[in-house]
Symmetry: C2
Subunit: 396 residues, 2 copies
């Protein structure tokens, strides 16, 4: 296998983007990534688009063909990849494999979602289309509902507290407020009351024991990366290439109820193990991580299942500041899904973009992890039924 590097990244600010179509967002993020790679429109061999909902939300298919046309990248090959909220990482994985095989040299991967076209219960319903079509969806199971039940079990088994969950939300909203690409810029306090003078909500219960601030917002957004073989990367750009040192993807039962232990996120553990094995690294070698905190509980549970903390210790680590800037393993210095936002098709790509910013040492003192050389991303599909992990390394 050829080693693959990331030579360009691009992102647009997440949030409400009422003026933009899905295609507008994908194109803007792509152009930023191509410009960052110093490529503009030259030499892209293949394009992968990560998207979950264009069919449902925009009544649109063949999005990858439309993007290639918009960017005038013909005759580049173009496919869309869908893996629910892990579509972004799946698309990158397939781009990496295509280059690793030797078939393509330069691949653009763009992830995007325009979710705010639907609001309220319709947004929750859209997200619920990723649940089991026969034994979950028809009965009204929602992702917040699953997350609530999972949290309750986790509290019972490991002594996790509501305070620790709020620590995740406070940390991530604080970092989001510092990230120009983040959707949520509002600071919150321990009591769950927004500090911003124009905030009109407190922190009502949403899915017991999870409250409003335990959940990511519904966002529009897009992000993109440009990949090529490591041996071509140094020539292609003056910026330090970031190597895709390892990756992994694993599935678990589609439904939570069929798992022997519903608190055991086997696919997270497996995907992370695969990525670490391929990278010849261990969790202790990682300088920072972007985890899939669609719900605060997930950041903690993933940090444990990926091997960064022992089971039951992830919440304590957050409370102690070990996952804050300057801590042992800064997590979600982008603000995470919680504050950057979670336009589902974009998220897995955005996580990688944020780690690349870190590994290229391009962020300000208030977000940059000093001398960061290695990063980890985890993109969580369904309720942990399809998980993709990456280990990234700054090229020497």
């Amino acid at each position: 296998m050829r080693e693959v590097a990331i030579i360009g990244v691009g992102m647009i600010p997440f949030g409400r983007r009422d003026e933009d179509t899905l295609l507008d967002m994908l194109a803007e993020a792509s152009m930023r990534a191509l410009k960052d790679a110093g490529m503009e429109k030259k030499g892209v061999d293949a394009v992968y688009v990560a998207n979950m909902g264009a069919g449902i939300l925009q009544h649109q298919t063949s999005v990858a063909s439309a993007l290639v046309d918009r960017l005038s990248l013909m005759p580049a090959a173009a496919d869309a990849v869908e893996n629910g909220p892990a579509s972004g990482a799946s698309a990158i994985k397939n781009g990496v494999l295509a280059i690793a095989s030797g078939y393509y040299d330069f691949v653009l991967v763009a992830g995007g979602e325009k979710m705010r076209e639907v609001v309220g219960w319709k947004a929750t319903d859209f997200v619920s289309t990723m649940t089991h079509p026969e034994v979950e969806y028809p009965y009204g199971v929602t992702l917040p509902g699953m997350a609530g039940m999972f949290t309750r079990l986790y509290m019972e088994k490991y002594g996790l507290t509501r305070d620790q969950l709020m620590d995740v939300a406070i940390k991530n909203q604080k970092m989001g407020a510092l990230n120009p690409y983040a959707h949520v810029e509002m600071l919150i306090t321990k009591e769950g009351i927004a500090e911003s003078p124009d905030a009109v909500v407190n922190n009502p219960m949403a899915a017991d024991p999870l409250h409003l601030y335990d959940m990511c917002p519904v966002s529009d957004g897009a992000a993109a990366v440009v990949l090529c073989p490591l041996e071509l990367a140094q020539k292609a750009t003056e910026k330090p290439p970031v190597v895709v040192a390892g990756f992994g993807q694993a599935t678990d039962t589609h439904t939570l109820q069929e798992r022997d232990d519903p608190t055991d996120l086997k696919a997270v553990t497996l995907a992370a193990e695969q990525a670490f094995t391929m990278a010849k690294m261990e969790p202790k070698d990682i300088d920072l991580a972007e985890l899939h905190d669609a719900f605060t509980i997930l950041e903690i549970a993933e940090s444990e299942h990926a091997g960064f903390f022992k089971k039951g210790k992830g919440g304590i680590a957050v409370a102690k500041g070990e996952t804050s800037l300057g801590g042992k393993l800064p997590i979600n210095m982008s603000g995470g899904l919680k504050a950057r936002g979670h336009p589902v098709g974009a998220t897995g790509v955005a996580q990688v973009v944020d780690v690349v910013f870190q590994l290229r040492h391009e962020l300000g003192d208030n977000r940059q992890v000093k001398n960061a050389k290695t990063g980890f991303t985890l993109n969580f599909g369904g309720f942990g039924n399809n998980v993709v992990a990456f280990v990234l390394r700054r090229a020497e």
Copy 2:
């Protein structure tokens, strides 16, 4: 790059499958392919699902995760690939690249579509979601409409006749009637009148100059293949492996109107050239082809653009019987999309399955191309804006 072989194929009869869900169909085709490969549930590393419309038609996402769960293939990786009506070939291409890279050994690719949940204009509207979202779809452009305009130009430029188009329909419906997996089993005559005693339609104009029998039906269906490295193929199964000798994928402008010459299907030419170059073969080396005859005009235009006949000669070749069984290059001995049916996500996979049947010499005298050793498939996305071609070869 490691050479990749097809060691198992499976298909379910296409047509109206009101009793089956999309997942039922994908699972049944997959189980047949795994059984054919002698694998049952052992050792699948990754699953690719080709599907275009689950979001719109079934209000469902994460279909790949659902299929892995249904087949109990966890923790195999699983992604869905969408490229409009060429989703099937795109999914196989990505499965091939994943194995070629050395990362995965055994990959299942399943394509399926349940399209008959919508009928009449809603089916046409669904297909139209692959048109340009800004400059085509809102104005009511449909695929039959595009095909009609394209046909008129082709007739003007190359002297193609209505009779030649009907020859394609007659040939393919005749072959479909012999194929147990085909949707359309009805024979038609030159006058366009169905021969079957229970047929109630003649052949009305649909999109001038195309008539009803120039068009594929709206079908439900699924097909699947199992891929592995060629070096493992002989050990894995007693059936003759079929090598993926070459493949190509190319895009063109999303809209027909932006092409310098709207009759020039550049992406077909390029994708075929890429596939032939990789296979170190030429069109004359091919024993049979499965082309994307969603409209009769496309079989003729593709046979020319892929290099099998000179421009303007494809229609004459059909009329002379050169593309019939026993001819120089039998095309669509499965019945093609015209008669086997065109459940969009399934089609590209079904084309490969049909060529594998041929290259393994498993068909009866009325469909088997004698001593076939090489085959070609062409899967046509949009109106030729994203095309995928394969050259397949029976392993010695």
